[in-house]
């Protein structure tokens, strides 16, 4: 095979800690975000396994719990389990899934997809990453001091009086909020201002539409969680009387302000994931996405509608009956654009030429997992069924299917997709696919039984439960361990690709025609030697397989440069 790995690229052009920590290169920042998010995911995952170990069998009482783990006394009056589920949720939401795709994959790929040298504000980008690190430090501080036992939702009045490291955690989340806002701002401006000549809005790859819609939410909604947590901290420290009923405050007010952000936040998690899936399905079917405009418009529609449905988290909170009816009706409005994306994805497969490489396994998994996750939202948006299901394990299963099954699986699929571009190496497909399959089976085994535990009445956040829920919990815990094994194998496949005898990756192993693949693997520090010519993002006939390269090459290269394709005009919606 002809080796096309360049001698000098963005990874080796500069060396040393300072060249990474103070870098302005979006690719290096993207990589650091990726590894940081993976590290946080492993930490959050350990807490999840601790939770599932506790729940594997009923009748593990507090005394046994304390004896088993032995350190609950140092953490104060609150039960150790309560710390585990809180930290699992807080780490996953604030450190992993919200930054995840936009900060890691968006940073790495988005500027290249625009044929640009970098994002609009590289220094702000670096600052966003430093903010992520600072926020993470505060969470670690919470972890090693008094812990956190409020649930990731911080509901008052419990969060006002619990003797745990609430202020460290709210400070961490506040800082992470700014990381998210600045990332969103950067992406928004980059897409507005750095699109190349010829790339009109409807000729952008759909990943960019997804990041754009996400950025709208990040900028408009995140300040509200900052305010919510700031108010909570002030209340806790100064006792003003905003949420504390003994001082004339209202606990339900906190819920409103909290969920006003936290509902749009879940679309910050899912929209980029859908963007990745659109790219993967298009490229591995060698076809444009069916209904490009619908996907583009539905992304923005979801972003807008996401702001008006927060009350569906509060149907039994004591808010008025009228408000409940309004929120239920509005909630169904968000279901339609989400559903049509799935149908468009499936129509993309029709008459395509489908390669089942590892990233495609993830994209197809998301169809199954988002299908279940999205549909189970219907039970919860429907008032008559939500009364029974709210705050039960049905909700836990629902949100894991969308947050993990859709967002995380898409994130991992994106990592497998862009890995050859990031590192210039190919991974072992067999190991990667084995891990993927085990993870998929493990995930389903973990969360499908939880729907039934929920409809049978098992409440959330219980470390001990009635005998009737035992078998569901047992199998769920087996599933969690299986999921852990599967994900570890997938990670191993990636790490192994960097060790020992590396298998060099061509510039374009997957045959994509988006601009991020029109440069070497790994790319040069400035991405492109010349600005790549632009037309349609999904005109796959512009590249063809070259056996020598073990990758795709342009059919009609520009100036004989194998990294530049002359794109014909694409027939887009």
């Amino acid at each position: 095979m002809t080796n096309t790995t360049p001698d000098v690229h963005y990874l080796n052009c500069e060396k040393g800690f300072k060249s990474w920590f103070w870098t302005l290169d979006h690719k290096r920042l993207g990589l650091m975000y990726m590894w940081s998010v993976i590290a946080a995911f492993i930490l959050g995952g350990i807490f999840a396994l601790l939770v599932r170990m506790e729940l594997m069998q009923p009748n593990m009482g507090i005394e046994e719990n304390a004896a088993l783990y032995g350190w609950s006394k140092e953490l104060g009056p609150a039960n150790l389990y309560n710390h585990f589920f809180t930290l699992h949720g807080a780490i996953m939401v604030f450190l992993v899934i919200i930054p995840g795709i936009p900060a890691a994959l968006g940073n790495f790929a988005l500027p290249m997809m625009l044929g640009a040298k970098d994002v609009a504000y590289p220094k702000l980008n670096r600052f966003s990453y430093h903010l992520w690190l600072s926020g993470a430090i505060f969470f670690v501080l919470a972890l090693v001091t008094k812990g956190l036992d409020t649930g990731w939702t911080f509901y008052a009045p419990y969060s006002l009086t619990t003797d745990t490291a609430v202020v460290f955690a709210t400070t961490g989340a506040f800082i992470l909020g700014f990381s998210s806002i600045f990332t969103g701002l950067n992406m928004l401006v980059t897409i507005h201002k750095l699109r190349p000549e010829g790339m009109t809005w409807f000729k952008m790859p759909l990943f960019l539409w997804a990041i754009y819609a996400t950025a709208i939410i990040q900028i408009l909604a995140t300040p509200v969680i900052g305010i919510a947590l700031l108010m909570l901290t002030i209340e806790r420290v100064l006792g003003v009387g905003i949420f504390d009923p003994t001082l004339g405050g209202d606990p339900v007010l906190f819920e409103h302000i909290f969920w006003f952000y936290s509902h749009p936040a879940v679309y910050v998690m899912v929209l980029p994931a859908m963007g990745v899936v659109s790219e993967l399905l298009a490229n591995f079917s060698r076809k444009p996405i069916f209904g490009y405009r619908s996907i583009a418009f539905s992304s923005v529609a979801i972003a807008i509608f996401s702001f008006i449905v927060w009350g569906h988290h509060m149907f039994v909170s004591g808010q008025s009956d009228l408000v409940n009816v309004v929120f239920s009706a509005l909630t169904f409005s968000v279901a339609v654009p989400s559903a049509i994306k799935v149908f468009n994805w499936i129509a993309t497969l029709y008459k395509g030429s489908i390669s089942l490489d590892t990233p495609m396994w993830y994209a197809l998994s998301v169809i199954w997992l988002f299908g279940i996750g999205g549909l189970t939202g219907l039970w919860l948006g429907t008032l008559g069924t939500d009364i029974h299901l709210h705050d039960t394990y049905f909700v836990v299963a629902h949100f894991h299917f969308v947050m993990v099954g859709s967002a995380i699986f898409a994130f991992i699929g994106g990592v497998f997709y862009w890995w050859p571009k990031m590192y210039g190496v190919m991974y072992n497909e067999t190991i990667a696919k084995t891990g993927t399959a085990i993870a998929f089976i493990g995930f389903n085994l973990t969360f499908l039984p939880q729907f039934i535990a929920g409809s049978k009445g098992m409440p959330r956040r219980y470390f001990d439960y009635a005998e009737e829920f035992a078998s569901y919990n047992y199998w769920s815990s087996i599933g969690a361990m299986t999921l852990g094994v599967g994900l570890s194998i997938a990670l191993y496949a990636l790490l192994k690709s960097l060790m020992g005898q590396r298998k060099a990756a061509p510039a374009n192993p997957w045959g994509a025609v988006t601009l991020d693949w029109q440069c070497t693997s790994p790319p040069p520090p400035h991405n492109f030697d010349h600005a790549p010519p632009v037309d349609g993002p999904y005109d796959h006939e512009l590249v063809r397989w070259n056996n020598d390269l073990q990758g795709y090459e342009p059919v009609d290269p520009v100036d004989g440069d194998p990294n530049l394709a002359r794109m014909g005009s694409a027939k887009l919606a």
């Binding site: 104060g76 606990p251 169904f332 009364i387 001990d464």
Partner: protein, 333 residues
Amino acid sequence: MINLVPHLLAFQQSSSEQTPEGSLFFPPKASNFAAESDWLYNFIFWVSAIAFALTIIATVYFVVRYRKSVSPEPQPSPSHSTKLEVIWSVIPSIFLVIMFWKGFELFVDYRKVPAGAYQIQASGVKWKWTFRYPTGAESEVLHVPMGEPVEILITSKDVLHSVFIPAFRVKQDAVPGRYTKLWFEATMPGTFPLYCTEYCGKDHSAMTTTTVVHETRGEFEEWLKGALNPYEGLTPVQSGELAYTRRGCNACHSNDGSANTAPTFQGLMGLTREFEDGSSLVADRNYILESIVNPKAKVVQGFQPVMLPNGGQDLSDDERDFLVAYINSLKAN
């Protein structure tokens, strides 16, 4: 395929069977709301299952039919189809509207309390429920008569809690500083779990009790008479022991010397107490009485001042006397 049919029927049947243990997916149908709630659940289930099955079948079929080895190049196909996209937007929307509407109708029933419903007050405090009846009787287990509407007026004395009776399909948060309510009509005699389902700290998972449904109003009234004075016929120390658990003191204060979030009662009388502010005294009946009524007045060294006055309960004067008597009886080993 054919062999699946009896299983599917059994599945449908089992989810509507009236058994005390409930069915595969649901708790027993023990209230007026259960049948409708479960019907709606099943309606959403079948619509979703069929839609999901169609998407998965299409996905698998396309992946197999158009895999690269048999389809080396993509074939020409439309890049969009307004007609198709309208159809697959409108048809799901119709089902969504039906789901919303049926949910709304059931919700109206959930919220409209029938006139003359029997009112019971529920008060949640970490980590115990207390139910108060119109006669003034109190219990930690919810007792209701079958076949009549019962309204539960809910509040919390400290943090958010939530009343959840799965068998009745009812749930409502307990919010400190306000009243919320739920209502139901029990349709089946028996005992059914009642859970706290809004996270409230250490013993959230233990803040469970039961709902006892009395088959006749007469049986219920009979119980109610007995509940009026639970201490009848007991000595002060025995009454104190009952109050110790009934009033939830046992959640934080052990009676056998074991460590917990609050000082143990064992051997308390006559013990020299050291307080956070450096002062100390020998524990006597007056100290114990003050600590019940005003727990923050003297905080024992090494403990947090979290207890509410009277433990957040409406203790009667008698109950306070009983508790003091009981604590006095707990000698050190």
